[in-house]
């Protein structure tokens, strides 16, 4: 009788542990894996320039508002809204100059514990001068880290500029054993260039935890991820003119001592000293975000615990 009772108890415990294992597996897990390494979403050459601006860190404001003072004749614009704590059912709604632009529920790039990046191609909605971008959101316990705008604008009085806009969300973490992320601005040999500017955007850097940023193996900065553009946000501009090489320039984010750091964007603009053919903008296909549901450590610990429990109960019998 006692043995039968123990058997029932054992079944109950096994059932509880099985539920704990199966519930997460049945659901879309919120550990989102290492995310998407940066890649070039758009590139081209334009008589004009590149605008990169935005801010302002995690504040839990709703609506979250950012202002942009834009030049005229925008030929291509990509708006980024980075968020903390994405889960299924969450959404954001973007308004531009008080006009509703659209709602998006599925982020374009998501990694780690729901650090995500929504990307929008919004070329025709902006006007010269001051523009207001407002984001309202449904995200329990989460909020925007930033609104960032990258735009290529035409100005015939300016020299021709070759540019690359890269995006993604690469979770460099101790857990994922990802120590660096590199993106190459692929190109033919660049003739007679000057004034090269690089912009980088990262999330979740910590002051004092030493990370490093390299451009063509030249050290641009240490502890770049230190929340200087707002809580959890680093949006930086670098003059990389002297570090340029003829072709295929690259930027590398090294995690260093950071527990987590997420490179989100790198934008390179290089001025030609003389025109190099016609202006063009090439839009590349978006890379789908990779997702991982359950970390292996979670499965391993659960299985080990289950085996130990079975061993202990059988040992008693």
């Amino acid at each position: 009788m006692a043995a039968q009772y123990r058997g029932y108890k054992m079944k109950g415990i096994m059932l509880l542990i099985s539920i704990l294992i199966l519930v997460p597996l049945a659901s879309a897990g919120e550990w989102r894996g290492e995310g998407t390494p940066l890649y070039t979403i758009a590139e081209g050459a334009i008589h004009g320039g590149i605008y990169v601006g935005g801010g302002h860190g995690l504040t839990y404001e709703d609506p979250y508002v950012e202002y942009f003072d834009l030049p005229a004749n925008i030929e291509y614009a990509r708006l980024y809204v980075s968020m903390w704590n994405y889960n299924e059912g969450d959404w954001i709604e973007v308004s531009i100059n008080e006009d509703k632009f659209g709602e998006k529920s599925e982020p374009d790039y998501v990694a780690a514990w729901g650090v995500c990046h929504y990307a929008f191609t919004i070329t025709d909605e902006f006007s010269p001068g001051l523009n207001t971008v407002s984001v309202t959101y449904h995200n329990t316990n989460g909020a925007p880290y930033s609104i960032v705008l990258v735009a290529a604008y035409k100005n015939d009085t300016m020299p021709q500029t070759r540019f690359w806009i890269t995006e993604g969300n690469h979770a460099l973490s101790e857990m994922g054993k990802n120590d660096n992320s590199e993106v190459t601005f692929e190109s033919e040999p660049l003739e007679a260039t000057t004034n090269a500017t690089l912009w980088t955007m990262m999330i979740a850097g910590n002051e004092g935890e030493m990370d490093t940023l390299y451009f063509n193996s030249h050290l641009l900065g240490e502890d770049v991820g230190r929340r200087k553009s707002g809580a959890y946000l680093d949006l930086d501009r670098w003059d990389v003119t002297e570090f340029m090489v003829d072709a295929n320039n690259s930027v590398r984010f090294d995690r260093g001592e950071e527990s987590y750091i997420h490179p989100f964007n790198a934008v390179l603009a290089v001025e030609y000293m003389e025109d190099q053919g016609e202006d063009y903008i090439q839009i590349n296909t978006k890379v789908e975000s990779k997702q991982t549901s359950v970390p292996i450590a979670v499965v391993l610990v659960t299985v080990l615990s289950l085996l130990f429990l079975v061993y202990m109960v059988r040992r008693k019998k």
Binding site: M175, S229, P295, T302
Partner: protein, 359 residues
């Protein structure tokens, strides 16, 4: 006499009845007030904190030529972000804004950002003094408003002291363990039990909580406090040795450090205190290893409330330089205590069954 009194009343009240009124208000930091403490800045943050000045015409006259100046305290560096309002500038420690017109009932606001001092030794008060001059068509007016803020020290020496205290706690724990042969009292089975329960807390339920906490909204923390309490009570009942809880929570943090890469090495001592408190309670209750429902609940409530209190009132300001609104922080501590209460009660039942099945 009546006429004289009437004239006197007119002299006193007439200017007020006809006067233009410009109401001045200010918010800093410009963050959700539901979460963050208002009017408190932390020295040493790496970013500029945003503030907002709002001007409201509460009179019934149109106000013209409004000139606002904001004197920023403590020599804080000023930045003016891009915003809807133009004609804002910053010079040394003063922000100046020029506003053309403000209709009755209309409000206008502008944003600025200031970088709190790198380091201050003690908590300091500072005042943003906002002065406005304007005209209402009849006469020039002026008004002013003082907005007090508190700037609290960054971790700096407080941090160093707390890190030192953390290391001292670790050393003390090792000393006690060595002096009283505490570790030798644990059998291999005990250590495996603790390691696996710690793995369940630090890996499985931490992930479970991170994954599903949104389902319960503000009560999401319960998804961690309840299982943690349950597993802690199971550990106490199965192992039944002094120091079990301390060892359990030490291993929890070590596991989290390895698996999730949480960078808490220097704070380890403070995390150990979650267990130390429970172990002290066990001794106070004469080596009652959660053998009664009441003691199981007391231990679980104490651990949960203490862990959340540490997070909101110690780690958040000292490590992350974030001050949560008191009602929010205490609300979270309260929810954690409820989680401990539920977890303690459930843990008692499960621990009894597990103990019955295993021993």
């Amino acid at each position: 006499m009546k006429r004289l009194a009437f004239i006197l009343l007119l002299i006193v009240f007439l200017p007020h009845l006809a006067a233009a009124e410009l109401e001045i208000g200010m918010d800093i930091p410009l963050k959700s007030k539901e979460i963050y403490q208002e009017d408190r800045l932390v020295a040493g943050v790496s970013w500029h904190e945003r503030g907002q000045v709002t001007l409201t015409n509460t009179g019934d006259e149109i106000l013209h030529d409004i000139l606002v100046s904001v004197d920023v305290p403590l020599g804080m560096d000023i930045e003016i972000p891009i915003q809807a309002m133009k004609n804002i500038s910053a010079d040394n420690n003063t922000i100046t804004a020029s506003i053309g017109e403000l209709e009755p009932g209309e409000s206008i606001s502008f944003i600025f950002s200031v970088k709190p001092p790198e380091s201050i030794q003690y908590k300091k008060k500072g005042s943003f003094v906002i002065s406005a001059s304007y005209e209402d068509g009849a006469a020039p007016h002026s008004s002013s408003y003082t907005h007090d803020v508190e700037v609290v020290p960054p971790p700096s020496w407080i941090t160093y002291a707390t890190v030192l205290a953390s290391i001292s706690i670790i050393l003390l724990a090792f000393l006690i363990a060595w002096k009283f042969n505490v570790l030798e009292a644990f059998t291999t089975i005990d250590l495996i039990t603790i390691a696996l329960l710690a793995g369940l807390i630090g890996v499985v339920f931490r992930w479970f909580w991170q994954t599903f906490n949104d389902l319960l909204g503000p009560l999401g923390g319960l998804l961690f406090t309840i299982p943690t309490a349950v597993l802690m009570i199971i550990a106490l009942q199965l192992v039944r040795k002094p120091g079990t809880a301390t060892l359990l929570f030490t291993v929890v943090e070590l596991v989290a450090l390895i698996v999730w890469g949480t960078n808490i090495t220097v704070w380890m001592g403070w995390y150990m205190t979650e267990g130390i408190i429970v172990d002290i309670l066990v001794l106070l209750f004469k080596k009652d290893y959660a053998d009664r429902r009441s003691t199981a609940i007391i231990y679980a409530v104490a651990r949960s409330a203490y862990a959340y209190w540490m997070f909101y009132f110690f780690f958040a300001p000292a490590v992350w330089k974030v001050y949560y609104a008191p009602w929010y922080a205490w609300g979270e501590v309260g929810i954690a205590a409820i989680g401990g209460l539920i977890g303690g009660a459930i843990g008692y039942n499960i621990a009894k069954k597990v103990r019955g099945a295993m021993m």
